[in-house]
Amino acid sequence: MKAEQLFEIRFPAIPERLCLVRALVKRTVEVVGCSEDLGEKLVIAVNEACMNVIQHAYKGNDSGEIVLQILNNKSQIVFRLMDFAEPIDLDSVKPRRLDEVRPGGLGVHFIREIMDDCEMGHLEKGTGNYLEMRKKIG
């Protein structure tokens, strides 16, 4: 079955937009029938992924743009995040070991723990990066 696009949102890569993104994701996952608990987790994962784009892909450059597509194919919800920054070093994206307590290094761990699977890559011709996150629901 073809995945059905629920939505696409575009927003400036700045921290002040994250609360809007969370609100939209929250409502979307409610509508597709996620439990409240799972819904909160999905909001966390998408939020951390957007934070990483703001902090690491755009390196705080606030003129960048983020595109988030949300797709649904009944039993799976798919979040596809795109940025238009320089292609990132994909190998650098990894979680820290949780037994060393230090500030930072939690985002990738949150995302991998919450999602069933993630795929990260470069957009065509070095125009940016994508992260696709998938989760089985219901």
Partner: protein, 110 residues
């Protein structure tokens, strides 16, 4: 996010309120570190926190580590469900001293 600071039996209590995310975690971090830099014992009240992201958690970790280094008392109190579920994801629920309330912490000190 809003915050409120008060003194209670030798502790400074910082109450964080609302969504502690990347747009305001630098402010939360500053409050926490300023207080510890001044040599004050610190409790962070998370009862009104409806959302906290990894940058907010990082500010708490920094506070925890600075308190340790300066031999000051540090703890989280009245942790909301939303905040607790993030601390659990980070496996920090067993690292931070967590108390049901300021009163409970004070009793433990006795």
């Amino acid at each position: 996010m809003k915050y409120n600071t008060r003194e209670d039996n030798g502790y400074t209590v910082i109450e964080l309120d609302g969504e502690v995310d990347l747009s305001c975690s630098p402010e939360a971090r500053k409050q926490i570190l300023d207080c510890l830099s001044d040599g004050r014992h610190l409790l962070v009240d998370l009862s009104a926190v409806v959302y906290i992201d990894s940058s907010g958690v990082a500010s708490l970790v920094e506070g925890y580590q600075m308190a340790k280094k300066k031999d000051l008392k540090f703890g989280l109190v009245s942790v909301s469900e939303a905040a607790m579920s993030v601390l659990q994801l980070a496996r920090l629920d067993k690292v931070f001293p967590i108390h049901a309330s300021v009163e409970e912490r004070l009793q433990e000190d006795d």
